[in-house]
């Protein structure tokens, strides 16, 4: 079973007022529940990352809700307005409640 591993790209530094791009990716098969196991012929049950939350200094700033139509190894890129230095926390939620997180700091001048 492949490990479920997140990776994020956050600029280390930004100027106040600058809109930066945040990129986040997590390795995950995103089983839709429609595909069949080639060996057993049984349907592989649905198991996807259904939510991605980005928070900055404890405040949620962006949420993405994923359906099975989102590709395997779900990728998301979104903007953020730098205002003060702080830390991002990124959370991915899997069907069933398991959570995966990653954090990154950003210095704002």
């Amino acid at each position: 079973m492949a490990k479920i591993k997140p990776r994020v790209k956050v600029p280390k530094k930004a100027t106040a007022g600058e809109i930066v791009e945040i990129k986040a990716l997590i390795s995950h098969p995103m089983h839709t529940g429609r595909a069949k196991d080639k060996k057993t012929g049984n349907k592989i049950p649905r198991k996807i990352i259904n939510k991605f939350v980005a928070s900055f200094d404890g405040q949620d700033v962006f949420t993405a809700n994923f359906e099975p139509a989102v590709s395997a190894n779900p990728y998301i890129a979104f903007p953020f307005k730098a205002s003060k230095s702080g830390a991002f926390t990124f959370t991915w939620v899997e069907d069933g409640g398991a959570e995966f997180t990653a954090s990154k700091k950003m210095t704002v001048a």
Binding site: I19, T32, R34, F56, Q59, D60, V61, F62, T63, A64, N65, F66, E67, P68, A69, V70, S71, A72, P74, Y75, I76, A77, F78, P79, F80, K81, S83
Partner: protein, 155 residues
Amino acid sequence: MKQTTQFSTISRRHALAMLGAAGAAVLAGVPAYADGAAVAAKIKGLTGGKSVGEGTIELDLPEIAENGNAVKVAFSIDSPMTTDNYVKVVHVMADGNPTPEVASFNFTPAMGACSASTRMRLAKTQNIIVLAEMNDGSFKQAQATVKVTIGGCGG
């Protein structure tokens, strides 16, 4: 390939026409994929039947996707993203997939801009519809067609 579209109201006549087509498709026994009617129904559920307004939503979608497994979908919506005037939620829908919902995104003014990019699975050639809800309860919409081709071979 960027496709910029402006879209206005879905007329009742249009919605009824789509529902009619869906009815005919069911009678003909075609496979149970979503279609225009399913998306129209979903949109109605989200908007409460309100009219959907104009506004520039820029869609970044390929014209032809060589493979339906990971098709890039990105959008950018012109909005000041201030606490008085910002995009609250954006829904991405595909009218030819088994179910129309692809993803939805909740934005906050802290983001400073309204855009997002991800990759989606497309079962076949179909329309991608992006519906945006503003903080004042109004809606904007845009759509584009993505052609999905069947690959050759290669195991």
